[in-house]
């Protein structure tokens, strides 16, 4: 990717970054998460102001603040990150924005690197904001520009929903001149718009529904919320209503069918879809994930058969769309299994999981590379739910289990995840300590390893690897009130972690053990960042 050519081969994430740059987005913020991570990395590489937030809620709040100040802001996350950011999302829909607020959310159908396959289009409906659903990199570029236009015209946050095969597929992108912000950032006071006390919020909700109605009317114009891809061979008079990557698969699987792409799944451009359906003998919906378009069609009185349940799971492909269109409902043969991922040879997490396994601990785990501690030969993780749950769920286990079993419970969390959602768990631990105490093991490898070695507030470097204030994890947990805090390098001293666990398990109080050793993949880079440029 570069800043000088007009036609390039980009993945969807890079295309979003390029459009944001071309449109003068003032601030990009987010939390890393596959497959969304590359958006901000690319935006930074292009010279944009990009920063990692401690978590997605903070990122969205920083972004909405910028948009209150008439700036254009881009906030990025993966689908499960939107759960964390849901609180501000639902109310910034009410307040609206002055500049542009684009929430780019990457779904992971098939769960290549996620704990669930929730469909973010549902959030757009629930939070009452428009969502755009691109099918390739050119559309990722174009829809980013369109999202900014809609956000500013109707003063509403707009979701840009992408999926793995849009984020991580490359296709050709042609840039164009994009309109720049009309005004420099500034503040205009209007508490009635931005202070959501009940009196203001009641009016704001009515205003929001009026905006959505106007946007729906706009979206129903041909070429706005829907895009027609006409059949390329003699038409069979079948119509396909499709969204996202499903559009690409459907066009290939059914060259004789017209495909109507629903570019804006919400607010649903019902009249446009109804007109398309009326012009075809029969219609089928092709979409990855939840039946969002199907349900919207049914509400709009468009007769479409439900997709068989098998297509609700995993990614679509041309092969699967052919089966779907042929009406095949039989379970599909599973693809041959590949080699599963594992902790790298020499990974410092390995030694930790050997110890936890050998001590028969009940391990309340978390989200990161170390989730691979569930794989053989360790099989040393008992639960993994969401970011930060290791600590709080571990406390719940300790409260509920009889003492002999409760004492076996250990919470294991990584450094980036700890900053993201572990702090409040530590507050809970000192406020409501279980009778048997608790042990939290923080595996601090100095990076957000799983998503590709991103920085976070406890590495002491910014997104662009420049020096920043460093949050010291052990100081923070001491300050919260944890009485027993140990820091060990379990690779340099092979007995250190075992000795620390011995002490903690014998004591029965509240313990945090920080096992600090840089990720094997990150260590050389970390040294390089620490060396001042010659």
């Amino acid at each position: 990717m570069d800043d000088t050519t007009d036609r390039q081969l980009l993945n969807g994430d890079e295309a979003i970054a390029l459009a944001a740059r071309d449109a003068g987005v003032a601030l990009g913020t987010g939390y890393p998460g596959t497959p969304s991570t590359e958006i901000l990395e690319a935006f930074s590489a292009l010279g944009g102001h990009a920063q990692w937030a401690p978590n997605e809620k903070v990122a969205l709040e920083v972004g909405l603040g910028a948009a209150f100040a008439h700036a254009r802001a881009l906030v990025t996350m993966k689908h499960v990150g939107l759960n964390v950011a849901a609180d501000p999302l639902f109310t910034v829909a009410y307040t609206g924005v002055e500049g542009a607020l684009i929430v780019a959310v990457a779904d992971d159908p098939g769960m290549a690197s996620s704990q669930n396959e929730q469909d973010s289009r549902r959030y757009a409906v629930a939070a009452a904001i428009p969502v755009l659903d691109p099918a390739d990199s050119q559309q990722a570029y174009d829809f980013t520009a369109l999202a900014i236009e809609i956000s500013e015209r109707w003063r509403i946050p707009v979701m840009l929903r992408i999926t793995t095969r849009v984020s991580h597929s490359k296709s050709i992108v042609t840039r164009r001149e994009l309109p720049k912000p009309a005004a420099a950032p500034h503040y205009v006071r209007d508490a009635s718009l931005r202070v959501m006390v009940p009196g203001n919020a009641r009016r704001a909700h009515v205003r929001l529904r009026e905006k959505l109605e106007q946007i729906r009317i706009w979206a129903e114009q041909p070429g706005h919320g829907t895009l027609l891809h006409a059949a390329v061979v003699r038409p069979d008079n079948r119509g396909i209503v499709a969204g996202g990557i499903g559009v690409a698969h459907a066009r290939e699987a059914a060259p004789a069918s017209d495909v109507l792409q629903v570019a804006m799944p919400h607010p649903f451009p019902a009249a446009a879809v109804r007109a398309f359906a009326a012009a075809h003998a029969a219609c089928t919906v092709v979409e990855e994930g939840d039946p969002v378009l199907w349900e919207a069609c049914r509400l709009a009185d468009v007769t479409v058969p439900p997709a068989p349940a098998v297509y609700r799971f995993g990614e679509l492909s041309v092969t699967r769309v052919r089966r779907l269109l042929a009406g095949e409902t039989a379970p599909e043969p599973p693809p041959p299994a590949g080699k599963p991922p594992q902790l790298c040879a020499g990974c410092p997490h390995r030694a930790a999981f050997e110890l936890l396994r050998d001590r028969h601990c009940i391990v309340s785990g978390d989200i990161g590379c170390y989730t691979l501690g569930v794989m053989p030969p360790y099989q040393a993780i008992d639960t993994t739910v969401c970011m930060g749950a290791s600590i709080s769920a571990g406390l719940g286990l300790r409260h509920a289990l009889p003492p002999a079993e409760a004492r076996r419970v250990v919470s294991v969390i990584g450094d980036s995840t700890f900053v993201h959602s572990g702090l409040t768990g530590i507050v809970e631990m000192v406020y409501n300590p279980p009778p048997t105490g608790h042990i939290v093991l923080i595996l601090d490898n100095g990076t957000t390893a799983m998503t590709g070695l991103q920085e976070h507030p406890a590495t002491g470097r910014t997104l662009a690897h420049q020096p920043a204030h460093k949050m010291i994890i052990e100081d923070v947990v001491r300050a919260i009130g944890v009485p027993n805090v140990l820091v060990v390098d379990h690779v340099a001293d092979g007995n250190a972690l075992a000795a620390a666990l011995d002490r903690a398990q014998a004591d029965g109080g509240l313990w945090v053990i920080v096992a600090r050793r840089p990720c094997l993949l990150a260590a050389a880079k970390i040294k390089q960042y620490a060396t001042p440029a010659a």
């Binding site: 081969l9 596959t34 497959p35 290549a112 690197s113 390739d136 793995t164 095969r165 991580h168 597929s169 490359k170 296709s171 050709i172 990557i245 690409a248 698969h249 066009r251 290939e252 492909s317 041309v318 092969t319 052919r322 693809p335 041959p336 299994a337 590949g338 080699k339 599963p340 991922p341 594992q342 902790l343 790298c344 040879a345 590379c369 691979l372 799983m450 998503t451 590709g452 993949l521």
Partner: protein
């Protein structure tokens, strides 16, 4: 022009994604429509990595449909059988086992050497390949990788003319 479909399969750390970037860029430089799909994330940790590269006058889906790959390139013997269903019936399997038959330089250039072998089966101009390799790798690694590519291409052309896969 009919779409050309290639699948490259290997393990995390073998440079599979980089190789697919080079192939996609070579096809782009040759003036084709190109799409490329891959799965990142977990794949970095030594697990299976697959990438699909497609080029032609108009490419729709970024993923090669099952049983439609013209060429399957495998960088590890463990990744042949689980990916064979991607190949079309008369498709060509290029296994990295063929690298044992010729000198291609250091092991870390093996994947680029396999691109050389692959290049003998494709109709992309050699200068597009060279430009793509230069564009994807730091300058200090150009000579080594261009040499590995040339060795692979030479071996691939020789194998084609002798009728071996």
């Amino acid at each position: 022009m009919k779409t050309v479909n290639i699948v490259i399969a290997g393990l995390g750390g073998q440079g599979i994604v980089k190789a697919s970037d080079i192939l996609a860029d070579a096809a782009f430089r040759a003036g084709h429509d190109v799409k490329k799909a891959e799965v990142h994330g977990m794949s970095q940790r030594g697990g299976s990595v697959n990438t699909d590269i497609r080029y032609g006058s108009q490419v729709l889906s970024p993923m090669v449909p099952d049983g439609e790959a013209d060429v399957l390139v495998t960088m590890d013997v463990t990744q042949i059988e689980n990916n064979r269903y991607r190949l079309k019936p008369d498709g060509k399997l290029l296994s990295s086992e063929c690298l044992k038959d010729f000198e291609h330089g250091p092991a870390r250039a093996a994947t680029v050497a396999m691109l050389g072998v692959l290049s003998a089966c494709l109709d992309l101009p050699e200068d597009a390949w060279h430009a793509a390799i230069r564009g994807a790798l730091p300058e200090k690694h150009h000579a080594m990788n261009l040499a590995a590519f040339a060795a692979g291409r030479h071996a691939g052309i020789a194998a084609q003319s002798s009728g071996r896969p």
